[in-house]
Amino acid sequence: MRNHPSPPGSISRRALLTGTAAAAGVGLAGCGSITGGLSGRTRVKQWNLLAGGDGAIMTEMHGDFSAEHPDVELQATTFGWGTPFYTRLVMGASSGNASDIATIHLSRLKSLSPGTLMDPIGVDELKDHGLNPEDFPEKIWEKAFADDELYAIPLDTHALVNYYNKDVCGQVGALNPDGTLLVTDGVEEYFDLLRAVKEVTGEFGTSLDTFGGWRQFWAWYRQQDGEMTFADGDYEMDDDKALAAIEIMYKMAEEGLCPTFADGGQCSANFETGAAGLVQVGNWEINRFKLFNPDNPEWFSMTEMPSFYNGNRYTQGDCHSFVLPRHNSWDPDVREAALEYAAYMLQHSFRWGEGGGHTPAYLPVTESAEYQALQPNAEYSGVVQNVQFDPDAWFSGSAARLFDETGSIFNQVYALAMTPEDALALMKERIETLLALPSPVD
């Protein structure tokens, strides 16, 4: 009681080093003795939210990194996607107990109060690791700054895309001679396609994640060139266009063209089991679908989102990026190793694109002939131009409150438990509530 012994934390770390390293999914399982991990290696803790098919690719890349950097011990942990991850990141950073490096969505940078919770990154530091500002698309590079300080290292661009089952779509004559999906124009044309596919599958036309309705909403709202801006406690939104986007959800579910209820896992399972011939979901599921049928990984292909309005193939998307959570004090070796890790991941992001489906942000990779020839990635490469980032506000961005709260409304719309009109009214109410809150990050 009288004198505090040193925190037992150190004991466990020693005893369990090997265990946790393997635990983190680095693929070191079974190698090394219990104490083998302590032999002077620099430990880098990484937190990520990649619980989907792309997470497996990241783990694989971590294995490669570890093999090439025997002096670095990488401990990566995957937390539940979205709010649980961000809450943990912020709580950890606020007490100085977060990881050394973490993946975030670039749209969330400002909501993470980078000034107090993240550590800025020197552009020179990046150059030392072979990363230069001109290696990134300008639009994305600018988003990595807050208050004129660089806080994030963009890894990719990702977006909702349209996957199609080649066999099913072939049966309904929806494929071009070269085997790609026919381009449709307008909601009705696409619904006709879904009706035809539904005939074949006997269940749905397309599958989608009814819990992630914000993504679909934002894509369809933006395709109508709808604007949404927040400023000074007020906001602008085009009600008619918003209602039109929500009505698409309702009608699609009502007619049985899509499921009324499907979380991320169920959404993709519907496509795999053939309950749906198409699925509108993020490009990150590419690995999962390839693995589903290893004998014929080309049973499906992917293209951009269909145009519902104005010939726009806009889609909702974001960028995974690395940040350095605030440290009470940095061990220079750890910081060095963390940045080396980030640089490695970017420079090897061909695999990230091939396996994870994401479009690498690192231009030397994206512009390489090898990447340009990659299929089916080339088929949806246009998403980078068509991607629509979430509106700018402290409560907006991937898994932020606007995303979550409207998502739970849209979930009810898909379930046919709420009419589009009610949903729109509730959505506006939620937005007004959010606007009335004092910003906790200013």
Partner: protein, 313 residues
């Protein structure tokens, strides 16, 4: 050896005369009490006041400088519909779960009391879930509740109660379905404790009482109503107060299983405090919300305390 315990209520304790001859005022006793008192002051008394202080500031989890904002948080809390809805949901959970947790516990206890030869197995079966961590409970039940291919819907369909083409959505089910799902899980998880309390109470009832009334021609049901249940009154009062307090603090199951959905139907008080403070970074506001809940729990606890400190004779 049955102990006659004296459990004086607070005021009595404060004014109680020094006991008997053995005691003399000295500093010795303080040394025994001091270690606990130090912990108590640091981890309970101090945070209580710290929280009160925070509730008057706009303190943020992000660590930016906080400033005194007077009663703003409090005014916002009292006008916050979401906070009131969370309290209402907490009350709904309490009202739905408590009667089941009481009645089923009595039924189970009566059964086990009669079926003595299987006592070991039955006690094990009914109490075992209570020692399982909440994360495991929710993992297992979420798997059971899966709309497509979950165990529950499978059997409902097998017995023709449910149409296979319209599987019931449980954990995000509208109109109370989600809340009922959590209630069922909670009943399964925590019933064992109440059951054991009742079983213990039943075992103290003198069998001669029943034999006497059997001679008078009382049947099983009459005995239950006129003898057994009245003798269980005290246990029931205790179980209900415990249940009230546990329910006001409910968080884990909702946070893990439903995330407060659908449409915040299962968002409860502690969950909203967590959302406001940790997900929304608003430490100051969440502190004000905590105090509202704090006062409510205090009221129930005072009731509980009076019950505990009642003389046992």
């Amino acid at each position: 050896m049955t102990v006659k315990t004296e459990a004086p209520p607070v005021p009595a304790a404060m004014t109680r005369p020094p006991q008997a001859n053995a005691k003399k005022t000295s500093w010795t006793g303080l040394w025994f009490v001091l270690p606990f008192a130090a912990f108590y002051a640091l981890f309970l008394v101090y945070p209580t006041f710290l929280g009160l202080y925070y509730s008057f500031t706009d303190k943020s989890l992000t660590g930016r400088a906080a400033s005194w904002i007077g009663l703003e948080n409090w005014a916002e809390a009292f006008g916050d519909e979401r906070a009131w809805a969370a309290l209402k949901n907490t009350a709904v959970f309490t009202l739905w779960s408590t009667p089941i947790l009481v009645i089923l516990a009595i039924v189970f206890a009566l059964l086990v009391h009669r079926a003595r030869k299987m006592g070991w197995f039955l006690r094990m079966a009914f109490f075992a879930p209570f020692v399982v961590p909440v994360s495991v409970v929710t993992m297992v039940w979420t798997w059971i509740y899966q709309p497509d291919g979950g165990l529950l819907n499978h059997y409902l369909q097998l017995f023709g109660i449910q149409d296979a083409s319209t599987p019931q959505i449980w954990l995000q089910g509208e109109n109370g379905i989600a809340m009922w799902s959590v209630v069922i899980t909670t009943v399964w998880w925590t019933l064992g404790f109440n059951f054991l309390l009742y079983l213990a109470a039943l075992q103290t009832i003198d069998p001669n009482v029943y034999e006497a009334s059997s001679i008078d021609g009382a049947n099983w049901w009459q005995q239950l109503r006129s003898i057994t249940l009245p003798l269980l009154n005290r246990t029931t009062a205790m179980v209900i107060t415990l249940q009230l307090i546990a329910s006001l603090r409910i968080f884990d199951q909702m946070y893990i299983m439903t995330g407060g959905g659908p449409n915040r139907e299962t968002e409860v008080a502690i969950h909203y405090i967590y959302i406001a403070g940790f997900e929304g970074f608003r430490i100051g506001y969440a502190s004000a919300l905590s105090y509202v809940l704090f006062v409510l729990i205090l009221v129930v606890s005072v009731f509980q305390f009076r019950l505990f400190s009642r003389k046992e004779d």
